[in-house]
């Protein structure tokens, strides 16, 4: 592809090993992007009504209330996140529960190979099961030691930090285990089924 006449680029990453191709370090800002109306439930309503469910191809479909989820062993992620709109943010700390902990209760059946994550808004995103097991994914409700703000997916969101951040569904409420991959919201709308930022899998058709 051609060099752009007159373009030298302003920012070179200080830690290029941490920045996937085509990404830049957003520094202290944390942009929010959403395709739908942000839910307007109060924290009290949310804690009363919300459930985190794991179902589909599992031996024991299970739902946790907000307080039941809080009582599970906590797990944190410290590291970077990468949004397909080209910002990356370093050194984030998220706290919640490992998806492994939820799957230990629900016990995926042998044929389960994919997960469709559902949000309270109807948003969905699809992931290979292998991308949410083995310590790679969380349901989180704290960022930097504070409650996760509503605009960033609070009270609870999925966190799959090794994939582009649209896979980390805001306002998560359900993980549905499937035998075959079923495209989610952005995946039906032109975005990649897996979304590995290091392979730059932004859009359908990317290798």
């Amino acid at each position: 592809m051609p060099i752009t006449r007159g373009f030298t680029g302003r920012r070179r990453p200080e830690r290029p090993d941490r920045l996937p191709p085509g990404q830049y370090d957003t520094g202290s800002s944390w942009p929010t992007l959403t395709a739908e109306a942000t839910p307007s439930l109060s924290q009290e309503q949310w804690e009363e009504q919300w459930r985190m469910s794991v179902d589909g191809l599992v031996a024991e479909p299970h739902s946790w209330t907000w307080s039941e989820l809080q009582a599970l062993p906590r797990s944190s992620y410290v590291g970077d996140i990468h949004c397909v709109t080209t910002w990356s943010k370093f050194d984030m700390t998220f706290t919640g529960v490992s998806v492994d902990t939820l799957l230990e209760v629900a016990r995926p059946l042998p044929e389960a190979a994919y997960v469709l994550a559902h949000s309270t808004t109807g948003y969905t995103t699809n992931l290979p099961l292998a991308d949410v097991t083995g310590g790679k994914a969380w349901v989180v409700w704290e960022v930097g030691g504070s409650p996760l703000p509503r605009g960033h997916g609070g009270p609870a969101r999925l966190l799959v930090p090794h994939l582009y951040f649209w896979k980390s569904a805001k306002w998560i409420t359900r993980l549905e285990l499937l035998e075959h991959d079923r495209p989610g919201f952005w995946e039906q709308n032109g975005y990649h089924d897996r979304g590995d930022p290091w392979l730059e899998q932004r859009y359908q058709g990317d290798p």
């Binding site: 592809m1 051609p2 007159g6 680029g9 191709p21 085509g22 395709a35 942000t38 605009g151």
Partner: protein, 231 residues
């Protein structure tokens, strides 16, 4: 229907102008162009001699029928890509482009809709109005455009000619006193709309979502395209 999608290609700048000191309008000839649907966007990628690249997404303003692809880019402070497009790009330059992209914030002319756009968020809505005009679908698409002042609102005159309701927040417009749009102004525009499109900054999108819901729009009929500061 599935919205069209295009891979990486190149485009040549045929026209460039600066409607205000913060906006640059680019009209490009796109090689092997895949025609877009109104509301879709393109990625512009800039490449430095050492291989460093920077890329950003910009909504398309042009009608799919337009032989050129039109982008209206707001120049953000320190914006690496928008700053280049604003200050350095000129006619004849070749840019890497990828698009069209996106299948959600798209209006195909199939349902009655209301658009609520703030500032440079009007750009995809302009594509929708141009499309509606050409196909005689004017009655299906109502538009509310919100800007600080007339001169800062991109495409203000064109949107007014379309029949958009314009709300300026920092100066009066005719006998309308400077203010954001309020529910009483929205009710007739929202009435009968089966879908809503909101495009603007994070703060605008949050305000507009509440406003539309207060005006009777169902939350699950609202589609949002929201942008942060990404230069």
């Amino acid at each position: 229907m599935t919205a069209p999608a295009g891979g990486w290609t190149t485009g040549t700048i045929i026209e460039i102008d600066h409607p205000t000191d913060r906006l640059v309008r680019l009209r490009l000839h796109v090689d092997d162009r895949v025609d877009h649907m109104p509301g879709q966007h393109y990625v512009v990628r800039l490449r430095a001699p050492d291989g460093y690249t920077a890329q950003r997404s910009y909504s398309v303003a042009s009608d799919p029928d337009d032989p050129l692809l039109e982008l209206m880019v707001e120049c953000l402070p320190g914006g690496e890509v928008s700053g280049f497009l604003h200050d350095i790009a000129e006619v004849g330059d070749v840019l890497e482009l990828r698009g069209p992209i996106g299948g959600w914030f798209v209006w195909e002319g199939d349902v009655p809709a209301v658009c609520l756009a703030g500032g440079s968020g009007v750009v995809p809505v302009v594509a929708m109005t141009r499309y509606a005009r050409r196909l005689g679908l004017h009655d299906l698409l109502r538009v509310v455009a919100v800007g600080r002042t007339w001169s800062e609102l991109p495409y203000a005159a064109e949107l007014q000619r379309y029949g958009a309701f314009l709300a300026l927040t920092r100066e009066n417009l005719g006998d309308r006193v400077a203010a954001p749009p309020y529910p009483a102004e929205m009710e007739t525009l929202v009435h009968g709309a089966e879908r809503a499109y909101i495009c603007g900054s994070v703060g605008f999108a949050s305000y507009a979502t509440r406003l539309l819901q207060e005006s009777g729009m169902r939350a699950d009929a609202i589609r949002v395209e929201q942008f942060g500061e990404s230069g």
